[in-house]
Subunit: 366 residues, 2 copies
Amino acid sequence: MAEIATLQHHEDSLEVVWSDGVVSRYPWLWLRDHAHDADTMHPLTGQRQLFTARVPRALRGLSTDVSDGALHVTWDMLEPTTVLPIEFLATYRHPRVARVAVDVPVTLWKAASITTPTVAHDLVMNTDAGLAHWLTTTLQYGFCIVTGTPPTVESTAALLRRVGYVRETIFGGVWEFQADLAKADTAYTTLELRGHTDGTYSNDAPGCQLLHCLEFNGDGGDSTLVDGFAIARRMEAEHPDEFETLSTVTVPGHYIGDGSHLLATRPVFRHDHTGRLAQVSFNNYDRAPFMLEESDMLAFYDALRVFEELANDPSMQWRHVLQPGEALLLDNWRVLHGRAAYSGLRRMCGGYLNREDVESRLRSCR
Amino acid sequence: MAEIATLQHHEDSLEVVWSDGVVSRYPWLWLRDHAHDADTMHPLTGQRQLFTARVPRALRGLSTDVSDGALHVTWDMLEPTTVLPIEFLATYRHPRVARVAVDVPVTLWKAASITTPTVAHDLVMNTDAGLAHWLTTTLQYGFCIVTGTPPTVESTAALLRRVGYVRETIFGGVWEFQADLAKADTAYTTLELRGHTDGTYSNDAPGCQLLHCLEFNGDGGDSTLVDGFAIARRMEAEHPDEFETLSTVTVPGHYIGDGSHLLATRPVFRHDHTGRLAQVSFNNYDRAPFMLEESDMLAFYDALRVFEELANDPSMQWRHVLQPGEALLLDNWRVLHGRAAYSGLRRMCGGYLNREDVESRLRSCR
């Protein structure tokens, strides 16, 4: 860990020169705001007890010193001495905007480069390492199958609860389904389902989805997955105009039925405030009407065509017929999922998890 | 309703001149994409059955005519005749980007201008008009009290379910609380709680929160609400630099405890893609550390100070001691809520609703 070499007081900030030569500037207000005493920051929750806005704007450090692995600051006003661990300071020694997702390397893939990521049910349920492997792999590749899962609804629910609480939606929590022609949704037919992400009609699309096969006696029914981030990368390189269109045009999704009329909107390629691709969101089934100026509208259709050509190109697709006992966790902010047409009996069970809950569990188990 | 006066075929689009002089351009692809036949759009759900990307890019209308309240288009390729209701076309006769929220006028307020919005429990539970009044008022003013609610957890749950399912969080669904010094959260003390919004650590902060008073025997404990949109308007006019800072700096929120470590980020003033203020998100208690360049960091603290001065200015606050039987629904995307210190026994019950679920119910009941 870096050590502090020298301290120098400036008008608005404390300059820290680290032993490896890095120079950091910590505003006096920031140092006061992030003091680690219990009256400023709760020792367990990290909740800020301080009324930050009441700290005088003109507060300046009177003296500073380093001892016992911490920086100590006394103030030129009646404020308590501020203590901050060096380790904490080191974390913020470079400007560091909020980037909240868990740090997992992302490996882009296409059909030729992907080997089905799997983890054994026993490991996931009984070890932290197994759980961490499952979630890390899901975020790295966009999906991971838990093998040897007992083909019961209870086991599906237990897998979901191993990560967090089950997200409630208009479909309930843990759902079970098979083809049901009485339902007015393509997902309940035996027809092909082209690649899509779920929840384009929710302000917060489910972060992850678990799809567990309980029973399958039939033909066809391949699950198909496509790496939406890989599509984005290819479009950015090969079709920059269409990439730009899908990064800026906000596309509404809707769900109408069962007394609900849900609406939400976001671009197909949503970038976060640092400019990094954060989410791919695409569902042509649930796209709601909107109208742009003629040239923009045509540009949208051109971009949609490019996107769908890549999403439906077999060279981009992982295909696999899920067997009873296989529970597929997929990253619904990245991977499009679909299904080939089938005949016979196919009974599935599944549920949704919020993004931040998946990330939270991964932080706690690895 | 507007009527179609003339139709003219262009290369990429159909020009419609309406009887009131408005000229609209509908791209041929858009007309095909939004055909109202069952093979294109499901008659109940509005789900698109069409594989839009497979529609030939060069598709053009061969002939068009208006009859039976609909536009009929035959194509120059082997595509089925497209029929679109004139009413549907009229909805999109001007460019119309996705704006998904329910259309409710927003009335900004401060202490002197706000009269507590209320609605009777019986009306909410037993009539669509009462339910619509409750939700419309909540979105118009940012809050509305249901009076005469039986002071039981069951009644709280019933009110929430009258709107939609209860959102599940790390706190469960419907929660009940009173001061509990064993819990590591300021909300469980009897201390003052300054104005804040909930869920800054969730990617999707709860759209609305219900706070129902079950029992109160004590002193103090005023609920305080501040119109975050009114703060935004004042800052935009009086402190444009600080407004800009809070509109662009993304602030991380975190929740640490009970085995969870949640993180999410957004600006205090989040604008949608049309540039309209969509959400105010502020919680100094749950703000997570981040570090910007010195001048940006100082600008953030300056902006935070301006914001908190307005949020804690009594002239901006609605104050009211909630009594048993009063159930307060508040718009957590707009209004900051807080509580004065108190002594005695205060037992509360409440729960969260997703934004899109509140809007969905309002669409269906008004």
